[in-house]
Symmetry: C2
Subunit: 346 residues, 2 copies
C-alpha cells in the first residue's frame, strides 16, 4: 500500500533541494513574489549592511536611546520560552515564560553578564521576544534606525508590515520548533542566528501533540520582577485548552520521532550581522543564537499577513488532517472511526 | 470521524468565492504573479480588443492568409474529441479523435456549414485543436496578428510561452472536463466560449477513473481524409496504458457522482470576443462554444510551463493519493491494504 504522506514528502524533496537559496542582492517585488508563490526561503547576505541599526547598535547606543524605559522580558531558567518541559514522570507540558517588565538598562546588564559559555551560570535567561510590534512601541526610539518597512515585501504583498519586532537576548535562549501564519522577513543586527527550517508539508515529521499549558512563575508572592537567581516554578493552567506543539527536534532526531521523521530534510542557515532571511509562512523553524562582540544578540523582523485564499493554507491543513486521521487509527485501533459520533480530532 | 477531503473542499470554499474575478485592465506582471501564487483565475474583459486578430479574422481574411495550406483537423461524430464514450454495455473508454490533414479552405467550409442548431446535421464535427504550438507552425501566417507573447505572463513567469495554440471549430465541439500542467492565457477571437472551472482540490468530485483508450477511425481502408458524412468507428487500443479520466460532468451533476461531487462549486465564465482568461495550472475545465457571425469559433491560447517546485504540485498530488487510497478501501474492503505487496494504485 502506498502511503500518501510518505509520497508527499519524498516528491517534495525530489522537486526542492534542501538548501536555503543564497542571494547577494535584494529581490525585486516580483522576484520576491515568485518565492512567496513557491513558499520557499532565501537569504540575502549583507542586505542590511547599510542600515543604521547595523552601523550603530552597540550596547552604549542602545542604553542611551532606551534610557529610563521599561521593557517586557521573558524570563526562563534555561532560555526555554514557549517550549516543552518534561516532568520527572515523563508527562509533557507546553510552558510559557515568566513575563516581567524591567528597566532596559538592567535587562541588558543581565543579558550581557550571562552566557551559555559560563558553565556555572545558574541565573535565569532573559529574552526580549514579545512579538507584538514592539519595535514601534516599547522600542520606538530605535525604530528610526531600521527601514519603516521592507519595500520589496510591502509592494509584493500589497500591504504594510503587520508587526515589526525586536529580539534581544543571548546564546542561552533557543526558540523551539514552531510555525507562524506570517510571511517573515528576519534581519540579523548583532551576533548570529542558526535557523533550522522545515517546509509545511513535513508536518508529519514534527510529532505534533496536544499538550496542556503552563507558565513559569516566581515563588515569592509579591515579586513581579524575577531576580536573576530566583527559582522559577511551573504553574499549570488547568483551564487552558490543550495546544498543538511539535515535540520532535531536528537536532535530536532519535528522540520523539514519528514514523515520518526520518524523511525530514531540515534546511540550515546561519545569519551573520546584516543578513536578511525570508522565512515563508507556515514553515517550521527552530532558532539558536551566538552572541556578538558585546555579549548580546539582536535581530529585527517584519511580519506580513499571509494569504489564506488559494490552496496554500487549506492544503497545509489537509496534510495535518490526514496525519491525524492516521494517528488516531494507530492510537485507537479498535475504535470504529467511521461511525458517526465517535471521538473527533480538531 | 472527520473526513479530511470534505474538510479541504469546504475550507477552500469558505476562503475562496466561487466566481471568476473580472478585470477591465491587464494586470501588471506582479499583479499576475499574485494570482499565480493563489492559483486563482481571472478574466480581463476586452483585453484583446485591439489585437489585429480580433479586428481582422473574418472568414475571407483567414482563407486568404491560409490559401493553399493544409491543416490538422480532429474529426469526431459528435464534437467529442478526447472524451469518454460509453458502449451499449455501459463500459467506458477514452476516445481520441480521428486526426486528418486537409486544405484549410475545405476545413473552414465544413466548419461553417455545420452547426448544432441544424438539428438534422449528421455530418462529422471538425475542430482544429492540436495543442502543439500550431499558431507558430501550421498557422504561422496568422501569428503576426497576435502578440508574440503575453508580456505580463512572460515577465512574471520569467519564461516565453511554451506553446501558442489556435482553436478553430464550431458549436458542435465541446472539450470535456480535464486539467493541464500549464499556466494558460486564453483569448477569445470569434464567437463565445463557456468555461466551467473547478480548482485542483476538487479532484475528489470529478470521479477520475482509469479508462482504456481508443481512437475514432474511418471504415474505408484507404481513406485518410474522413469525409464529412462518413461513419467513424472506435478502434480500441489494447496496448495503451489506461489513462485517468474525469467522468463526472458538472453540467450533469446527477450522473456518475462521487460522494464528494455535491460539494463542488464550479465557476462559470463566458468569454466574448476580445476577452482574456487566466486559467491556472491544474484547474479542471470544460469548454463549450457558440459561433460568431460567420458560423465559426476561434480562440488563441498561450501555455506557460507551470512551477513544479514548492507545494502546489505535490499537494495537488496528495489530494489525488488520499482520494485513491479511500477509493481502494471502498472497492476492495476485504483486501488487507496495509500488507506489503498488495495491489497498488498509481
Ligand atoms: O529569533 C528567534 O529566537 C525566533 C524568531 C522567530 O521565531 C520568528 O521570527 O518567528
Ligand atoms: O477551447 C477549447 O475547446 C479547450 C481549451 C483548453 O482545453 C485549453 O486551453 O487547455
Amino acid at each position: 500500500m502506498k502511503d500518501p504522506l510518505q509520497d508527499l514528502i519524498q516528491a517534495y524533496h525530489e522537486l526542492n533541494a534542501a538548501v536555503v537559496e543564497e542571494l547577494w542582492e535584494e529581490p525585486s517585488a516580483l522576484e520576491f513574489m515568485r518565492y512567496v508563490a513557491k513558499n520557499r526561503p532565501f537569504v540575502v547576505r549583507q542586505a542590511a549592511i547599510d542600515w543604521r541599526a547595523v552601523e550603530r547598535w552597540d550596547a552604549g547606543y542602545l542604553r542611551k536611546e532606551m534610557a529610563g524605559k521599561e521593557v517586557n522580558v521573558a524570563v526562563t531558567p534555561l532560555g526555554n520560552a514557549d517550549a516543552v518541559v518534561e516532568s520527572p514522570s515523563g508527562s509533557k507540558i507546553f510552558v510559557e515564560p515568566f513575563e516581567t517588565s524591567e528597566p532596559f538598562d538592567s535587562f541588558l546588564d543581565a543579558v550581557q553578564a550571562s552566557s551559555s559559555k559560563g558553565a556555572n551560570d545558574t541565573s535565569n535567561a532573559r529574552y526580549a521576544q514579545t512579538q507584538n510590534d514592539n519595535l514601534r512601541n516599547e522600542y520606538s526610539s530605535l525604530y528610526r534606525d531600521v527601514p519603516a518597512d521592507i519595500p520589496f515585501a510591502r509592494i509584493a504583498l500589497s500591504q504594510p508590515a503587520e508587526a515589526i519586532n525586536l529580539w534581544l537576548g543571548n546564546d542561552r535562549s533557543v526558540t523551539s520548533l514552531h510555525k507562524d501564519n506570517y510571511e517573515n522577513i528576519y534581519v540579523q543586527i548583532r551576533g548570529q542566528k542558526q535557523f533550522v527550517l522545515m517546509p509545511p508539508i513535513e508536518m508529519p515529521c514534527v510529532n505534533e501533540q496536544l499538550l496542556g499549558k503552563g507558565r513559569y512563575a516566581t515563588t515569592s508572592e509579591k515579586e513581579t520582577q524575577a531576580r536573576s537567581d530566583e527559582e522559577l516554578i511551573i504553574e499549570r493552567d488547568a483551564n487552558a485548552e490543550p495546544v498543538p506543539v511539535a515535540i520532535w527536534d531536528p537536532d535530536l532526531p532519535n528522540q520523539n520521532p514519528t514514523p515520518y521523521s526520518h524523511l525530514a530534510q531540515a534546511l540550515r542557515v546561519t545569519l551573520q550581522e546584516g543578513d536578511l532571511l525570508y522565512l515563508p509562512s507556515l514553515w517550521y523553524h527552530k532558532v539558536s543564537q551566538s552572541v556578538g562582540e558585546e555579549g548580546f544578540v539582536c535581530a529585527v523582523n517584519y511580519w506580513y499577513d499571509m494569504e489564506f485564499a488559494g490552496q496554500h493554507w487549506v492544503t497545509s491543513s489537509l496534510v495535518r488532517d490526514v496525519y491525524w486521521e492516521e494517528e488516531m487509527k494507530v492510537r485507537y485501533p479498535d475504535l470504529d472511526l467511521d461511525e458517526e459520533g465517535s471521538d473527533e480530532v480538531d
